[in-house]
């Protein structure tokens, strides 16, 4: 079976777009991680010189924002750790956006088998946020 010639220009545009999405997501979240960390330390001077606070932050049972809502509420109070969580979520979302864009590219090429394949990947990625709650 000979493949139909792909539209070279579109394929290239999609590849550049994917590359840009990945780069932007990583850079933005890196900057936010640094900002969030600095704010955390600025808000809590005890983090700088009190050894006792570390245990409370990194103990397995410590509370940490783990719902979208919890993260967003923390942002409202400009909590450093919530800014860090947003940036980490942005990082997690970057490949997910990349997959979503790929669906559009396959729709444009009318490659329905791959539209289906990519949609399954996207569903599995979104499913992860529900499975975590159950587990």
């Amino acid at each position: 079976m000979t493949p139909p010639p792909p539209d070279k220009k579109t394929v290239q545009q999609v590849e550049v777009l994917i590359s840009t999405i990945l780069r932007t997501g990583v850079t933005l979240s890196f900057v936010l991680v640094v900002v969030g960390t600095v704010i955390s330390f600025a808000h809590h001077p005890a983090y700088l010189d009190s050894p006792g606070t570390l245990g409370a932050l990194t103990a397995p049972a410590a509370t940490r924002p783990h719902t979208l809502r919890g993260v967003l509420e923390g942002i409202g109070q400009s909590q450093g750790r919530s800014i860090i969580m947003v940036s980490l979520l942005l990082l997690i979302a970057t490949p997910i956006v990349r997959v979503a864009v790929s669906i559009l590219a396959f729709v444009y090429e009318k490659d329905w088998i791959f539209v289906g394949i990519t949609a399954v990947v996207l569903l599995l990625l979104l499913l992860s946020f529900f499975l975590g709650k159950a587990g």
């Binding site: 079976m1 493949p3 590849e15 550049v16 994917i18 590359s19 990945l22 780069r23 990583v26 979240s29 890196f30 991680v33 640094v34 969030g36 960390t37 955390s40 330390f41 983090y47 700088l48 010189d49 009190s50 050894p51 606070t53 570390l54 932050l57 990194t58 103990a59 397995p60 410590a62 509370t63 940490r64 924002p65 783990h66 719902t67 750790r81 919530s82 860090i84 969580m85 940036s87 980490l88 979520l89 990082l91 997690i92 970057t94 490949p95 990349r98 790929s102 088998i113 791959f114 394949i117 399954v120 990947v121 599995l124 990625l125 499913l127 992860s128 946020f129 499975l131 975590g132 587990g135």
Partner: protein
């Protein structure tokens, strides 16, 4: 140890892990997790949660470059991602209820394997033409790539698609369970089983690692296993280290240097096994 000191130490260790990982062609995660657990006594689940985020960062950064160089086979990547994300979800779920000691044990085994695989000498490149595969024809997985070594475009045929999917599901489980990219499992699945050229295998594996890691990261986040105070310095450190590694220097080629690192990694692998089997 104060939180500030912890952050600085973790960042530095993650930076070293990212640098070393990129020089050795392993990932940062497989090095940073033993460092966090064995040296800083961080809970292994939180170390895994932090590492999986850093895996997304480095994979996405590297994938951006590979896609531009047109080495990645996007169709193969997308097809196999069904298997790797399903595996990653399974792995992340399993890690939620097995005892931490088993995480140490499996980690020790995978690290040992990766270290040995790194040193495995490739047999001379002679390959019989790949057997035809209806799945690969039907899904139009065959492609061509620009080989910088010869300066020419080269077409290649993909084969054993179903075997590739099965191996990728296993690689996904390992990735989700241990919070590593598991490129050491993905590249051979494409290179040896599906017969993609090694450069395409490496680029495509890197491209897939980010999506695979995102699947398990969602599970870890919702479970509360991603600690901002651990994940922030780890993600930032590994990213900076890996970026430095890929820009400043090439791969470490010297046999003696690589042998040294294989020995060190095997020793770390033994430490992880010891932690899981004897101490916990």
């Amino acid at each position: 140890m104060t939180p500030l000191y912890f952050t600085l130490i973790t960042f530095t260790m993650a930076l070293a892990a990212g640098l070393l990982g990129s020089l050795l062609g392993l990932g940062g995660g497989i090095i940073v997790i033993p460092a966090l657990t064995l040296l800083l006594h961080v809970d292994i689940r939180l170390a895994i949660g932090a590492s999986i985020v850093s895996v997304i960062a480095t994979s996405s950064g590297a994938a951006a470059a590979y896609v531009r160089e047109r080495l990645t086979n996007l169709r193969v990547a997308m097809l196999l991602e069904i298997a790797t994300t399903a595996g990653a979800l399974s792995g992340a779920m399993i890690s939620g209820f097995i005892q931490p000691r088993w995480l140490y044990v499996v980690f020790g085994v995978v690290l040992g394997y990766s270290a040995l695989a790194m040193f495995h000498k490739k047999p001379p490149q002679f390959r019989a033409p790949p057997p035809p595969d209806r799945w690969a024809d039907r899904l139009r997985l065959h492609d061509r790539f620009f080989d910088p070594a010869t300066g020419q475009e080269r077409a290649y045929q993909v084969t054993h698609t179903r075997l590739g999917l099965l191996l990728m599901y296993i690689a996904g489980i390992v990735s989700g369970l241990l919070g590593i990219g598991s490129g050491a499992l993905k590249v051979p699945a494409m290179d040896l089983a599906m017969r993609l050229p090694i450069k395409v295998s490496t680029a495509t594996s890197n491209f897939m690692i980010g999506v695979t890691a995102a699947a398990s990261a969602g599970v870890y986040f919702m479970r509360g296993d991603i600690d901002p105070f651990i994940a922030a310095p780890v993600a930032a450190g590994v990213l900076v280290g890996a970026t430095l590694g890929s820009h400043l220097l090439g791969r470490l080629q010297g046999r003696a240097v690589r042998l040294t690192f294989v020995v060190v990694l095997l020793w770390v692998s033994a430490q992880m096994l010891y932690e899981g089997i004897i101490k916990l």
